[in-house]
Structures are given as C-alpha cells and as structure tokens.
C-alpha cells in the first residue's frame, strides 16, 4: 500500500528523465523516503546535500529574499536538483531529484520539480 508521501514522490518520478526522487531531512541528513532507481550512494549524498543546504543558509543569512530555494549540481551525465521544502518543523526537507541529462532539458526539469515540490508535503 502506498502512502501519500510515496505517491507524491512518484508523481515527480514520472517526469521525463527523472531517475531517482528522495525526501531528505535537512537537520539530520536522513533519507526519509525515496522512489526510483536504488542508488547506493544516496545516503552519503543526502548527508552532503543537507550540510550544503545548512551552509548555504548560514551564508545567505536572514536578509529579506535570501532564503535558499534550490541547489543544482550538473555533471556530464546528470542533473541533481535539491529543492528546499520550507515547511516546519525542524530545518525543513530537501526534495532531491536525479535527472538524466540525455533525456531531459535542465531548465525544464528544474521548472517541473518546482511545480511538483509544494505537493510533496501536502
């Protein structure tokens, strides 16, 4: 039986070129839930991404409009998008999406992830 969280992640996974989708707890670096291709390096990547999100937030500070929205990492074969979901409690969550560059446009993928993101925690 699927859960609402799992179903929401599957909706993101259904987008063109998406290989893996995961929800990461920023405070602990824990992979709360993931769907798609199993990735043995996902747990380690989640910790790094959570650290990066915290560091970026610290760098941006509390200035107006300075909230972190997304972290993007581009490799020759893939695009890793980490969208910040600001719902409390804690430090929020990251919606991590691994996109195959050969099958998706980077800008379009980022747009689609941004559209799906609010529904993940709803």
């Amino acid at each position: 039986m699927g859960t609402s969280l799992q179903e929401a992640l599957h909706q993101v996974l259904a987008a063109e070129g998406v290989r893996t989708v995961a929800l990461i707890d920023i405070a602990s670096g824990m992979v709360v839930r993931f769907v798609g291709e199993p990735n043995p390096g996902l747990a380690t990547a989640a910790v790094s991404l959570a650290d990066e999100a915290r560091a970026a937030r610290g760098l941006l500070g509390p200035r107006p409009g300075g909230d972190l929205e997304e972290i993007a990492a581009v490799t020759d074969s893939g695009l890793h998008l980490s969208r910040v979901l600001l719902d409390k409690p804690g430090e929020g969550f990251l919606l991590f999406v691994d996109v195959d560059r050969a099958r998706a446009n980077i800008a379009l993928a980022s747009l689609r992830v941004g559209q799906f993101a609010p529904a993940v925690l709803a």
Partner: protein, 315 residues
Amino acid sequence: MSARSWGPADGPLGPLDQALRDCAAARFSGELHVIGAPGGMICLADGAVSAIETPWSPSPEVILLRSGRVTSADWEAAFTAATVARGRLSDELVTRGLVGAGELEAVLRTALADAMFAFAAGFVDTCRAEAGTPDFEMPLTPGAEADGLVAEALRRMEVLADFPGPPLHARARVTAAPRAAARRETTPDDGHDGALALIDGRRTIRDLAFARGRGLYVTTLEVARMRGNGLIAVPAADGQHPGDEDGDPQRKAAAVGPTAAGLPRRHKDRPAQPKRTGDADGRSLPAVLRLLRPRADGGPQAPRTVLTSNELGGM
C-alpha cells in the same frame, strides 16, 4: 510468536537489533518492550515499526507542538474530535488541514529514526515481545522497515563519534561559554541562537531536544558543533568543568568578565558570603554616613533623614 525475550548482547543496540530482525521475519504484530536506559516500547505491525515511545526522544506530538507547527488549541480540538469519533488523531490533523499528509508522514519517520538513535545512544539490556494490537494515537501506516531504522541509528552514532572530545550523553548538562553571549550580540543567527537561549546549565541535551521540539540526534549534533566552536561546555562525567581539565590557557583567559548571562562571575577564591564590614571599603562609619547626606550641588537624591554620627552615638 506470542511472547519472547532476548537477553543481553553486544553491539550498540544490544539485543534490540536481533529482536527486530526476528520480529520482522515473523511479521510480528504487538509491543516490543525495550529494557535499559532509556527504556521504551516499540509498536510493530506485520514486523514493521509503526511507533516508538522512549523518554529520551520527543514524540511526534512534542515535535509538532513545540516547533509551533500546530498550535495547542488546534491540537486539543483535533484530539477531542478524534476521540469522539473514535478515529485516529493523525487522520484528524490532516482532515482539518493542520498538517499535510506527506509532512506528517515525514515527521513520523524522522521521529522513529530519532527514537531508534536514542536506544543506540543509550544502553539496551533486554527485550520482550508481546503479541497484541497496540493502540497508538499516531502510528506510521504502513510501518518503517526496522533494518533501515537501525542502519540510520548506527550512521548517526558514527557521525557523532567523529567529533573531537568525549562522547556526548543525552543526560549531560550543557553550559554556555562566556563568548557565547558576546557572539549573540555581534554575529547574525546561524541557527545556534535558539539552542543557546535555552542553555542555562541545568538543561540536559535531552531537555533541549524536548524544549525545542527537535530530535535528540539533531540536538546532540548541534551541541557537538557548538562545543567545537567553543560556545558551550559540557561537563565531564565526573562533574569537572572541561575548561578546567585541559588546562587550555585561552579557555581559562575566557573565564574572566561577565558570564554568558551577563551576571558578575563568581570566582573560586571569592567567599560565598560577603565580608562583614564595619568600615565599608576601609572608610570609617562617620565617613560613610557623610556620603549619605544630601548634596548641595544637586547630586543624586539622598534620604531626607540622615542620622549623624553624633546622633548615632547618642542612641
């Protein structure tokens, strides 16, 4: 499997690791009692973990309320409605729009991982499984796989072990270092201010987690980072202040001036009771009394009636 016990075993989780594996293999449903420090109870449904209660780790209720995600009034209204309808509180919270279904599941999963970490950070002596249908207000349905929670708990232990200094215990009291107060005035909030404001020398790491509605692991991690930055001190097991035990002259130099709370620092060579001084600051009593007389130059207002030394002597 209706009832079974597991005796003491090696490893961070003692017999709990094996107990969870056996319960998962048998698709056990019921309560798994954890005896140790902290003790606790794990609710299992078809071998998966649906809820955990332990006094070291905040429950989902504490997390949602203390973080301000759900107000107390809304929570009580949802609780009452769920009780009257004999429904689940989690369903009621979602139906009322107080929290999203996905967000609630994420909170439940992170709370389970934190509770499992609390067991790993403590000591598990024995475990006892009793079949039945546990009644929890907010179970995770379907439950989380136990091996995933155990792996996450062990990962967290490894992360904390990488920090320098003695291991942090959930019941260790945390004290703010003097530089913490100055730092709060001069540097922007980097996320530590919330914790620093609650550190009063009496609260333990576990207390901080409950006060803020954050996980035990996240709080311990934050304390470890702040200790590394010299913002706080965590007394050693024997109660000795860590700043005294390492003989670090910089730390000792920092112990001059006001405390983190801005109060005058009490020195070791200072007596607990003030000296009885018949002659304040070396002045004679008549000289002191003269200071209390009204000043002709409009200085600070003095008492209207001042006894002179002669009047005192005549009493």
